[in-house]
Amino acid sequence: MWRFYHIVKGNYLQYARSYSFLLTVAGSLFIAFGIIPSPEANYVTMKFGNFTGAYNSAWIGMVSALLASILLSMFGYFLISGSIKRDIDSRIGQIIGTTRVTNYTYILTKIICNFLILLSILGIIFVVSIILFFLYSNGYPFELSQFILPYIFIAVPTLFIVASAAVFLEVLFPNYRILQYGVYLVLFFTLLFSSTVDESTFSTDVLGVQFPTQHLSEQIAQKFPDQNVALTVGLVAGKISAENKVPIEPLSFPTWFFISRMFWIIFALVLGYIASKLFHRFDTKERKGRSKTTSEIPLVKKAGFQLKNMSHETEFTTSLTPLIKAEVVLMMRKNNRWVWALTLIGMIAMGFVSSTISHQFILPIVWFLQVAIWSDIVSKDYTLRTHYFTSSSYKPLSRLFVSRIVAGNLLALFIAFPLLIKVAMSGDFTAFINIILGALFIVLLAVFLGALTQSRKLFEVLFFFIVYCNLNLVAITDYFGAVHSTMMYSVSLAALNLILFASAFLLKLRHERQ
């Protein structure tokens, strides 16, 4: 137990002391303030028809717990995934593999550590929700249990399941990050939308949100029986009048709900157990197909090391072309073949379906498929420990840095090529420009966030969030002009790109000077 505690502590501290964690804390604060809008705000995060709750303890406690459960199960996954990969990259895994730590202990420590990271974020949201209660409640009494109970019954079990699922998928699909993400997203949305509130089938509600939302809905329906009380969750624009803010009664969680949440915790532990049986224990080369590679690697027959045989005339060149070509090769190799196959399908589809559908739905998806390529466009030097080579290369900032942006952009444009041709042929010049600016934006965003955090995580989380909003046609996240078609919008996008480039460049310059 003592050993287990120290492994978990070590893992957690490793993350908690990183710069990424600071950003995570900042993001958590942002989310916490966002999910409980001020009474004067022009948006709501949860409403039932035209009604919402008055800011008493029961409403703020319940809504913050529900939204934290949904948001953290979606974005939190991206934050914590890759914990085993980090041990492989840092070579700690090889040491762990030779210790007496069992597979199940190791997997469990990873699950617990992931859980603690998510719990830290939840803790921040919890504290902020109480602070916001005192700011917004307008005389309602403070009841601590109305905050604690929803968090314990709804959010905490959900986070444990997410923590376990992240480890399970990483074990199941090692080296296939996109596949891990894809499977998780499919599962997440399937479970979110297909779960029921029927007591006999309670176990399908993984997130534990259906029963509490039904309770809220029923209360409002009782007071306004003739009104539509359909649930809407998200950033919903519009203000709700004071008379439509209903004081919600506290929910007493029934025993079956408690059992249901316990069931999911046990399921998460079982998932961890299955993962421990499938775990590669850091023998990753074996799984890559050792027989193929070792047969091709010859034994050392001779060691020449003769200087006279090594020399050959070369030329000094400052051309960026070889660097861009090399970067493109590096990027192309990063993705698995099946990702390219899906990308190709998407590209072909863009040639056949309408420009609007291609622009609004297919393009953001096929670009998102390249998330693994762009997310470490800057940080790969640190994760792969090639930074000594890149830092001591000739003019790294004006050559290598620029080449990476150009290569990333070329790739984005290549993927968008069928759509670009289509909109060009239809004479839609604004859409043509916006797609090019969008390609530049997504690469520059990856470069900027990579330079800022030296990690790929923040970009991946943000990119996913942006794509999710794109598919829901949220106008503010339209970085490639799918829902805007004015020239003024193109100018704004260009300005945004310029700011991103300048910020990323200054960050890299600062790194170089330090």
Partner: protein, 286 residues
């Protein structure tokens, strides 16, 4: 070629000093850098190779201030870091082409140059395999190849023989000697014998300071008439080690042959021929 380091200091935060008021002049030839962990060897190497900047002091290469103009040295630098990685999805050809592009090397002869390097470093038959499948020794040879790609005038090898087999290690020493005829080669290693056999000059460092620098004979002279050999029983070793500066010990039957440094030798000790290792131990443990 002349590399001049003037009063170089590297501070990490307020209190931690990686290198303290360090000055050195290096001409063509091999300079061996010796020092225990934390001596500041890697800190010095990173500053010479323009990866990090000094807190104080200057570095000149042929009278050009490379702290202000890092690209001057980058253009003619070959650097093999101690702990480096590679891009696992590239093969050796692609990786070296990429490195060449980063260094600004091109032209029609580039592919031939890469082929020559791969052949001489015994990587040609696996050159089409992805680097992720290479062994540690093979990666080390890829690292050596990238360091020599641009026909560098100043070469820095940080622990270069790690992962090489004994035969490769000997041949690599010869290669370094060949390189040093008209270049500056800085060789950092924990293995004194690697440096002893090839370095023209040796610099011994400890806790960010330069303890001694010069030709090997001059450094070895510091322990002249101070190195002795004696034979003692196994049970006496702990006490002997506690009171003497022991360089090495070899088992001989049930006794141990001890090589140690002292101004006042024990009875039955024989004076020994001093070596670079003796001088290194003497300077760093004093």
């Amino acid at each position: 070629m002349q590399l001049t380091i003037q009063n170089l200091t590297k501070k990490y935060g307020k209190n931690k000093i990686g290198l303290n008021d360090y000055s050195l002049e290096i001409s063509s030839g091999i300079l061996g850098l010796l020092g225990p962990n934390g001596a500041g060897k890697s800190t010095l190497i990173k500053m010479i190779s323009s990866i990090s900047k000094p807190s104080e002091g200057k570095i000149f290469l042929n009278e050009e201030d490379i702290v202000k103009s890092p690209n001057y040295i980058r253009k003619q630098l070959g650097y093999l870091p101690q702990d480096f990685g590679v891009y696992p999805h590239l093969n050796a050809y692609e990786f070296l082409s990429y490195m060449a592009a980063m260094k600004g090397i091109g032209g029609k002869g580039l592919q031939q140059k890469i082929t020559n390097l791969l052949e001489e470093l015994n990587l040609i038959e696996s050159a089409k395999n992805q680097l992720g499948t290479y062994s540690g020794g093979m990666i080390q040879r890829v690292g050596i190849a990238q360091a020599l790609l641009n026909d560098p005038k100043i070469i820095i090898f940080d622990e270069p023989t790690v992962g090489l087999d004994p035969e490769e290690r000997l041949r690599f020493r010869d290669l370094i000697s060949d390189l040093a005829t008209d270049r500056i080669v800085i060789l950092s290693s924990h293995i004194v014998s690697d440096i002893e056999s090839i370095a023209d000059e040796v610099a011994i460092m400890k806790k960010g300071h330069l303890l001694a620098k010069g030709i090997q004979e001059k450094i070895i002279k510091l322990v002249e008439n101070k190195v002795f050999v004696t034979t003692i029983h196994k049970s006496d070793i702990p006490e002997f080690k506690a009171n003497n500066m022991v360089v090495s010990s070899y088992r001989s039957d049930d006794k141990f042959k001890i090589r140690y440094i002292s101004d006042s030798p024990h009875a039955s000790s024989n004076l020994a021929e001093p070596s670079l290792e003796d001088a290194y131990i003497y300077l760093t443990k004093s």
